[in-house]
């Protein structure tokens, strides 16, 4: 591991010196530092800033502190009751040990597990801009089918973020130039020509909280994850969904896909195609097709299109 200096953050608006990075639970960053993929000069520890509460918002909804551990958030009775999709997504991710350390903001900002990115000796436009993307012709079985570019076909690995995308969560950000909010669906970028940038955050900006707006029908929501072993593995494909059906008709729906793109993929076109339609398997499949028409799978991940399509139908049937 490259040498670095360590300090604790004094406040949320302090920003970062050049070459510095924030440290939360460290479950991804410390690993990337061991691998030589992350090489910060300074680590600024933000775990003692007291951003570790889950609070109820005045108009309904919850404010989740950036430092709330994934295990605490998953077990929170308000999250389990009002937003089961979020609790389930958290519990589908990582292991008990990792969830005890991993934080809300750290989960959002974790890096892709693309094997070329994780290997500092390999070319990768994300860790070495301009060096190329071996995944396009190499091992891409678990990489993106939506929104990718010739420069990068990485997927965002989070389960939690998929649920947050479905729930219209809003990310609260603090930095030297003030505070701002960004919908979680706009926090992560598509790779385009600059895949080295995962998110819209500027250097020194710190996520302080994630707001969950009230969504009454989220009590009927769920997260389904497909992976290569029964537990403790990243998703091959996942779906977060909330569904409101009245008299057999879809009144409202929230849908997001995981492990298919450089960001948690909010399936807005599928939602649009479903509102007002009969809550039947045929409608669910047609809605999935509306979203997946834009899919551009590669040699070894074509299966993901059918996987997500079937997941959507299965999850929505389960909720209706």
């Amino acid at each position: 591991m490259k040498t670095f200096t360590y300090r604790t953050a004094a406040g949320v608006a302090d920003g970062l010196e050049p070459g510095a990075t924030f440290l939360g639970g460290g479950t991804n960053l410390v690993d990337l530092m061991k691998l030589g993929v992350a090489t910060p000069d300074v680590l600024v520890d933000v775990t003692r800033l007291g951003l570790d509460d889950v609070a109820e918002l005045p108009g309904g909804g919850l404010r989740i502190g950036a430092g709330v551990r994934n295990s605490d958030l998953a077990a929170d009775p308000r999250v389990r009751g009002q937003y089961p999709v979020l609790s389930q997504a958290l519990l589908a991710g990582a292991s008990g040990q990792l969830r005890n350390m991993a934080t809300t903001a750290g989960n959002l900002l974790q890096r892709t597990r693309c094997r070329y990115f994780m290997d500092a000796t390999m070319p990768c436009n994300k860790h070495d801009p301009g060096s190329g993307c071996p995944a396009v012709s190499g091992d891409h079985r678990n990489l993106a089918i939506l929104g990718a570019s010739p420069s990068c076909i990485a997927t965002h690995p989070s389960d939690m973020a998929v649920a947050l995308a479905a729930l219209d969560a809003v990310v609260r950000i603090s930095g030297p130039t003030g505070e701002r909010t960004v919908p979680v669906t706009e926090l992560h970028r598509l790779p385009g020509d600059t895949p080295e940038r995962d998110t819209v955050l500027e250097h020194g900006e710190l996520i302080t909280a994630v707001d969950l707006p009230p969504l009454e029908f989220a009590t009927r929501s769920t997260y389904r994850k497909v992976r290569d072993r029964a537990s403790y593995a990243f998703a091959v494909g996942s779906v977060a969904a909330a569904l409101q059906v009245t008299d057999g008709t879809v009144r409202d729906v929230r849908l997001a896909f995981g492990a298919v793109a450089h960001k948690p993929w909010r399936a807005s076109q599928a939602e649009e195609a479903l509102r007002g339609r009969p809550a039947t398997r045929e409608s669910f499949l047609a809605a999935a097709d509306a979203e997946l028409g834009a899919a551009r799978p590669l040699r070894d991940n074509t299966f993901k299109v059918a996987l997500i399509r079937n997941l959507v139908a299965s999850v929505l049937e389960g909720l209706s």
Partner: protein, 157 residues
């Protein structure tokens, strides 16, 4: 930095790169926690940090000033006897991590924490629940079938 390990105060002068696992093994001589993968994928390094199970290989020791760590050397829990009775291991390399993880897991369960296989009601400690909750600890010998009843019986005590 100051740290309480197995009830004893320790004062350490560490390179910032030192993980908790390396601090325990190389600086404090506590070699119970094992270095398996060193990337948070196997659970062999599991210890209890302020009572919670964590992967000590992914935590920089310097961040833990004022914390309390319990390693397998400091654990005294029925799950240990049950591992012996049920032969819950073969080579033993993953065992300290399995035991620390089980101790942390049983505490999480007693607080009502759900798992990925918990339904909407309160969880019961069924075999699928134990397997899911222990999935962060790998055993290359495959001694899982004996660990599950060991943990279940330790919970029943």
């Amino acid at each position: 930095m100051d740290l309480v390990v197995n009830g004893a105060e320790q004062s350490l002068d560490l390179d910032p790169r030192t993980t908790l696992l390396d601090a325990l093994r190389e600086h404090l001589g506590l070699t119970g926690a094992k270095k398996g993968c060193d990337h948070g994928q196997c659970g062999a390094c599991t210890v209890l940090l302020d009572g919670r199970r964590v992967n000590s290989c992914l935590i920089l020791a310097i961040t833990l000033s004022g914390s309390e760590v319990t390693t397998i050397e400091g654990v005294d829990h029925p799950v240990q006897q049950k591992f012996l009775e049920h032969d819950g291991f073969q080579c033993g390399y993953c065992t300290p991590g399995q035991i620390c993880s089980a101790v942390g897991m049983l505490d999480e369960f007693s607080q009502g924490w759900p798992s990925a296989v918990t339904g909407s009601g309160p969880p019961d400690l069924s075999d699928p629940e134990i397997r899911e909750r222990m999935s962060g600890n790998l055993c290359r010998c495959g001694a899982y079938p004996n660990m599950v009843p060991a943990i279940r019986e330790a919970a029943e005590r």
